[in-house]
Symmetry: C2
Subunit: 498 residues, 2 copies
């Protein structure tokens, strides 16, 4: 069913079929074992967080919460699921039990499109042990790639800003639908992926590929015929033979021939580079275009772009533009179209997003991992606040137990390094912004999330947003959380004693 929507939950329902066993097998094997040990109704909580921010950055942007909530809401252990489970060797008694089970967890989370930091609890689920076991399988998959994609595409948007951005990833993406959806949520303007409109009201666009020019045998002829039929999409690809010697001169000739027709159709003319040195070509092209009355022609850049190459091309155009021109006259007429690299998150194609059990029957639990201390978890069902000075500077991200009044915190403890503790008591008028503000909102729209991403990242100091080696936000613990963790590690104690 073709049903492009602006409502995120509707998008997700249209674009992603509901899975029948949305987990790795081991979650349900543990759940079955809980059932036979009769501990499946114990109270439990789990937390989703990332160990490191992706792409060497300082933060991530949450994506996929709506995907998770949708499965949580729509999934039932119906006859088909039960048949599947029996076929996988699950026992009859357990299957009968599941048939009457609804996976029910309370979700405390930051909203989709909000910024979060390493170790910060982004999504917390609480409920019966069996629900919480099963929900993890849904939660990790729902959040991991969307969060990674959202973060990556937002880096592209920031690097290109204020330039417009297109997303062209379908043909080489590992998962083009997730890529196109979360690229849009991150702020990308237009997609090439026609299928995304099956469920999401995202603007799409397309013009010519190399085959268009090849199929005519003559480059000018190909451009001429294209503009004749498509004056409303006057984008000409100029590198089929030789960009500066053939493509651009032919494009200029064609634009000048069809100038009136393009204007009447409301088309915005452009040329597209798809190979060669984009910074060099762009400067030369701009000079040629301007010289021949094509000042209004935009330049589309494609060919393995990502935030790093966009940044360095912009930087070089800025310094290498001939003195008689203003670099911004060139930069303002560039449109950045990215595909494969951000589409696959090529420099880091997975995020270290994990879900860890944090409490059982209100007793905190920990994973210690002496062999690899970065894997030692923070015990307890915690929440986070971003702490701002009265000047609006982000001082730290503070992790506190849900039972604590975070505003009373005197010292923010670094988990492992005393020298990095912060005496909050020394500051006046600190603002504690509690982060887990998600409320069940089925009216979340694509535009809401785009707006939220924009606001959240606008509020981050630029030093946290540098592409390479940015400043890191301190993620600290309250005294209660710090002491509990320290004690449990020292005593090799997996569960809090109460």
């Amino acid at each position: 069913m073709y049903k492009p929507s602006k409502n995120l939950l509707e998008c997700v329902r249209s674009l992603f079929p509901l899975e029948i066993c949305p987990w790795d097998d081991y979650f349900l094997r543990m759940a079955q074992t809980d059932f036979y040990l009769n501990c499946h109704y114990k109270k439990a909580s789990k937390t989703y967080f990332i160990r490191r921010a992706p792409f060497g950055g300082s933060y991530a942007i949450l994506g996929g919460l709506t995907l998770f909530l949708r499965v949580l809401n729509d999934f039932v252990f119906n006859d088909d699921v039960i048949r599947a489970l029996k076929n996988m060797g699950y026992r009859d008694e357990f299957c009968n039990f599941l048939q009457n089970l609804q996976i029910r967890v309370t979700v405390s989370a930051i909203n989709e499109g909000m910024v979060f930091f390493p170790n910060e609890p982004a999504v917390i689920i609480e409920g019966s042990l069996i629900s919480v076991r099963i929900a993890e399988g849904i939660l990790t998959k729902s959040l991991n790639f969307p969060t990674l994609a959202m973060t990556k595409w937002h880096r592209v948007v920031e690097a290109a800003s204020p330039g417009k951005t297109y997303e062209f990833s379908r043909r080489r993406a590992q998962n083009d639908i997730i890529t196109s959806l979360y690229a849009h949520l991150a702020g990308i303007d237009i997609s090439s992926n026609a299928e995304i409109r099956k469920g999401a009201d995202i603007p799409i666009s397309g013009s010519m590929g190399h085959e268009w020019i090849q199929s005519f045998g003559d480059e000018f002829d190909a451009f001429d015929k294209w503009l004749e039929i498509n004056p409303d999409r006057p984008i000409l690809l100029v590198d089929t033979i030789s960009t500066l010697n053939s493509g651009v001169p032919n494009a200029i000739k064609a634009f000048n021939k069809h100038r009136l027709r393009i204007k009447e159709a409301g088309g915005i003319p452009g040329i597209r580079n798809d190979s060669g040195d984009l910074a060099y070509l762009t400067i030369e092209e701009r000079l040629m275009l301007n010289k021949h009355g094509c000042t209004d022609v935009m330049i589309f850049e494609t060919n393995d772009l990502d935030e790093y190459s966009i940044q360095s091309i912009k930087q070089q155009i800025f310094t290498q533009t001939p003195k008689f021109m203003n670099p911004s006259d060139i930069l303002e007429k560039i449109i950045w179209a990215c595909g494969t690299n951000p589409g696959t998150c090529s420099d880091q194609p997975s995020i270290g997003g994990v879900v860890k059990l944090t409490s059982i029957e209100d007793k905190a639990v920990i994973k210690i991992a002496h062999d690899n201390s970065i894997k030692t978890s923070i015990p307890g069902s915690n929440r986070s606040a971003h702490v701002y000075t009265e000047e609006g500077e982000l001082l730290c991200c503070l992790i506190y137990h849900k039972s604590e009044k975070v505003e009373n915190t005197e010292i923010a403890y670094h988990p492992d390094d005393k020298g990095k503790n912060i005496r909050l008591a020394d500051y006046k008028n600190l603002v504690f912004e509690k982060r887990q503000i998600y409320i069940n909102n089925s009216r979340e729209t694509l535009d809401n999330v785009r707006e939220r991403v924009k606001n959240e990242t606008k509020n981050l100091h630029w030093s946290y947003k540098r592409l390479n080696n940015p400043h890191r936000v301190k993620v600290s613990l309250t005294e209660k959380v710090f002491n509990l963790r320290k004690k449990m590690i020292q005593n090799n104690q997996l569960m809090e004693e109460k």
Copy 2:
């Protein structure tokens, strides 16, 4: 519907919903323009090939052909699709035309699971220009990630061989269903992904995660209870506190307590490492296990493994095993479980797979790309043969025009380097193995493809299979193809003159 099948086409139909606009928008924009220029019924051909072999290797393994054929077969421009297209601004006249169009192309291809080399035509489609334009959008997406995944997972299988392999990628994969399916086709033994069984009859398995141990607070207790309920899945995760000081001793105690129960249930006991130095731990664990009567306990290795780490862990175990033991006694009892890295093809998350227009009305066409000569295509609707000496050595991959009798070739021309030409006439009894042997076979099974992958790669000389910097197979052209390409480049001629 839960319908696990061994038939590949059925798997694909169950696992992947048919898309309603399975293309990037520009393919259909070009098709619409063809229609208005009345050239949509010209004869055309396109070829899928890769520019470079992925992962620094020398070859790729074709995946996704069945995905492509399924869409080709099942897709129709029904009312829903037409409504979508009108909503995207396609014109009524064109939409009316599409309503009566069936995308029809002739497919010449190597089979799913066959090896191919850079520039070798792997899949050729021929038909009316409009069908061929649209089919490209389906073809590229269908082949690219499956081929990449198939090639990657096969590298893992080769590195681990003769060890068994598991695939654990669901929670961090960008596209877990494609990953699990093509991992299986590449030869992986078992998956953790329960959802894959919705459509594919692939064995799955699961045991405990860290949360299992955490939820008991006591490691031995957690192991003990697990084995009590699951003597048929006796895999214990040993790194929650400290692998050698706590995990392994507790596991030994638990195995010895439940020895009989496990044997009766037919379980194969194992411990699982998920952090720390796997080579070191494995040697120490084997010594401890053997000393305490657990010689039958397997060691599962997890934690960011890929073909490179498997190879180097095996190598170190081989050299570092204490003299009184045989390294193969350790190696034979290892099971390799890989997830995130091969699951996302982390060292190269996309393949340079492209489809290029190769002929129009039987006249060859080329993309020249002076700015970037690696992008210069090989013109014409060509096929390939693998040429073997009478001793069975692969001499070259030879690209010939479909009208040629390849067995008559005297010289195999390197596309750009005369010094690398091969005089085939100097050899006696050469064997020309034509590669495009695909015939429409809806009875292709998972097992067929697995078997084909095994045979195809077994026949490759080991020097082509080295993980790093392997020997490269020469991909050559017949005189006819070579001369045509040279002439078209020299004359900046996009289309052959006839």
